[in-house]
């Protein structure tokens, strides 16, 4: 059952990209990014209320911890831009490539306080196959 739920999470992601992309098609990227975050904030505040979670911010949290939301703007805007030109599936495959390469680099150099794990050269084979797949996907 949990495996099916995992598949559904993926499906929801694609539907979200489609919804957000359609919104940005109508309003432009900046306005839609604000709207998307606004709707999301209302949803998460309702979740906070329903689950009766307490919101408390401990003092002295390093400022950079708050930057995920800033990075999130980048994700939304970049995805919306690509959606308008490339649709849903191709940006997903390209995004996966970006995720894989960037995770390998953060692990390899132990960036952002991650444990250092050297790149396994065999992984370049996997990256190569992903690259070939993306190349084929980009044919019209």
């Amino acid at each position: 059952m949990n495996y099916i739920i995992s598949l559904i999470v993926g499906a929801l992601t694609s539907i979200m990209i489609f919804f957000n992309g359609s919104l940005s098609d109508g309003y432009g990227n900046l306005t839609s990014t604000v709207l998307i975050h606004l709707v999301g904030l209302i949803a998460i505040l309702l979740t906070l209320l329903i689950t009766r979670s307490k919101m408390k911010l401990p003092k002295g949290l390093p400022l950079y911890l708050y930057s995920a939301g800033f990075v999130g703007i980048g994700t939304v805007m970049l995805t919306n831009l690509s959606y308008l030109k490339l649709g849903v599936s191709l940006p997903l495959a390209l995004g996966l490539l970006g995720q894989t390469v960037f995770s390998l680099l953060t692990d390899h150099f132990g960036l952002f306080g991650m444990k250092m794990v050297k790149i396994n050269p065999k992984k370049l084979i996997g990256l190569g196959i992903i690259g070939i797949g993306i190349f084929i996907m980009s044919f019209q």
């Binding site: 949990n2 999470v9 992601t13 949803a43 906070l48 930057s67 990075v71 831009l81 797949g133 996907m137």
Partner: protein, 147 residues
């Protein structure tokens, strides 16, 4: 010109990883739901500032009245995805979780592209099989390394 959008898509993937790392660190300190609230507050604050500076405020024109209601629901889906992932992550082995989420994304992504362009692309289907194969191979290497 297409190259620019290819680079933008890859960068989107980079921001996903960066956001995930930062968010996980904040969630560790204050909880997942609480970290998500902060995320959205910070997100609105900065995107609104960008909007004010670059767009000089909100502009609504008549063409926007044709935007269907469902297009506004992406933000809710985003929160739903975070909450469901919160449930599945400790329950599904990382290998299957990552692979299944990506399979769901790609399958529905190809379906949406197909429905919108009204034109089924065999290239997208075949290419995505390669992408899944390469991704699976690397995940298998990870799985072997953790054993």
């Amino acid at each position: 010109m297409l190259v620019i959008y290819i680079i933008l898509s890859i960068l989107a993937g980079v921001t996903v990883v960066l956001g995930r790392i930062l968010n996980a660190k904040l969630a560790e300190k204050i909880g997942t739901i609480q970290a998500t609230v902060i995320n959205y507050v910070v997100g609105i604050f900065f995107s609104a500032i960008f909007l004010l500076i670059l767009n000089r405020g909100l502009h609504f024109t008549s063409s926007q009245s044709s935007i269907p209601l469902w297009a506004y629901l992406g933000g809710i889906l985003g929160v739903a995805i975070i909450m469901i992932s919160n449930y599945t992550t400790p329950r599904v082995p990382a290998f299957y979780l990552t692979l299944l989420v990506f399979l769901g994304q790609l399958a529905v992504g190809i379906l949406i592209d197909w429905l919108i362009s009204k034109d089924f692309s065999l290239y997208k289907l075949i290419g995505s099989l390669f992408v899944v194969a390469g991704f699976t191979y690397n995940l298998l290497l990870d799985k072997k390394a953790t054993k």
